[in-house]
Symmetry: C2
DNA sequence: TGTACATCAGTGAACGCGCGTTCACTGATGTAC
DNA sequence: TGTACATCAGTGAACGCGCGTTCACTGATGTAC
């Protein structure tokens, strides 16, 4: 509904008095949208975000000290959304513990694929000691680790269950990166790869499944990971 | 042995007549060195590379059309080095097939950790259809897939062996990225995680190892992955 | 009810920086005559 | 043996761009008197 989209870019109306904080959220969402469109974190800049929101670049300094602090806020917002999504998928899954884990891991990868730039920022290199102080992303890992312990009939702090949960997490991160970087490689079907690998890793009994057998139907939530652009 | 390191940077002597191609290799090595120092691909630029080599920025155009083509050449050179390193480690490993795989995977991660920026360029998003035409990096994958097939007593083109090889490769890529991005997470010991996960994935029999048991001694080659800076 | 004033929510011009890329130019080295 | 010339292996100044960041400024809105 912009009458002249190219010549005169969108201009945001100032917030009403007392609602200046609304711009902060708009900035975070605009940064997220840019990230999700462009696959990597280099395309995002203060000037690009400001253009997107429809404000002057300097207005960003009203809410953030610099770009790094802004990206930190983006990361916090996305991790909250990510954890909520994973928990939701897990809660909708069936009773079989390995099914539940497999569904959660599929959701993990789908979220990252739907929001590649946001995922890259969330898992970019730690920014200083304050970022290590807050256990960012640990909630999402706990969701997984507890399920793995349940699947193994082990206590929540069992070191073997913890090790396997770390490996499953690592595996998912690899799925995200490697498939994105080599789109022309003959990858196996994503859900099948996740399900099969999870079962081989977690089943204490011999994995006597036929190759490709026991496919699960992806749930509705898995098929449509939320894109964070509103 | 530079008399004034800060004020007058190193200046390269021109090649002798007929040896102009030598500069091409020096440029590739300088780019590699910059990548391995700075952990990501954004720090590398034509100007930074030229400063490093000790030439004018424009001299790079004598050998490359642009930065993308230069990075492609860096990627090709590093993949050759990488494949040779992995093959060498595998050939020095013992006869047990899973030991051989585990050693190769450890070497994979060590190389990437020793050359993070180079690894990032090697596995950055495909640059156009000419990059997909040449099966770059496929040699390294073949090294692994053949070993997995041998470990499973399966033919070389067995789809299950192929799927497991893809998952192991994916797992290693995840190890590289996730550990680099979260250095303060309480990661398990790298070699132990690789060895344990590999055994659980590849053993058709139940994995009855005690937790943490059957550690292998890392080979000398694994402990010192080659840094590509000369 | 009017008016001075403080505060809020921003704006716009300008700075210096590093970058990729262009273009004309240069100095040494070999070769033909 | 000397000299004109072609070629090789680069150089240096300049361009326009987008960027982060600074600084003084602005216009609307509420509030005190």
């Amino acid at each position: 509904v912009d009458p002249s989209p190219t010549t005169s870019p969108h201009r945001r109306r100032p917030s009403r008095r007392g609602e200046g904080a609304a711009l902060r959220d708009e900035i975070i969402e605009a940064a997220t949208a840019l990230l999700s469109e462009s696959n990597d974190a280099t395309a995002v800049s203060l000037r690009a975000i400001a253009r997107r929101v429809g404000i002057a670049t300097t207005s960003i300094y009203l809410h953030f000290d610099d770009l790094a602090q802004l990206l930190e806020a983006v990361s916090v917002a996305r991790f909250a959304e990510f954890a909520a999504y994973l928990t939701d998928v897990r809660d909708r899954a069936g009773p079989d513990p390995i099914d539940r884990i497999s569904s959660t891991l599929c959701a993990y990868v789908h979220y990252a694929q739907a929001n590649p730039g946001a995922y890259a920022v969330m898992f970019s290199v730690d920014r200083g000691p304050e970022a290590q102080a807050q256990p960012i992303g640990l909630n999402s890992f706990r969701v997984l680790a507890d399920e793995v312990a349940a699947a193994l009939d082990a206590p929540l702090d069992d070191p073997q269950a913890n090790l396997l949960a770390v490996s499953l997490w690592t595996f998912c991160d690899g799925l995200v990166h490697l498939r994105a970087s080599r789109p022309h490689f003959p990858w196996p079907d994503l859900e099948h790869q996740i399900d099969y690998t999870t079962r081989r890793l977690l089943n204490t009994a011999a994995t006597d499944l036929p190759p490709g057998g026991r496919r699960q139907q992806p749930t509705e939530a898995e098929q449509a990971a939320p894109a964070t652009q509103h």
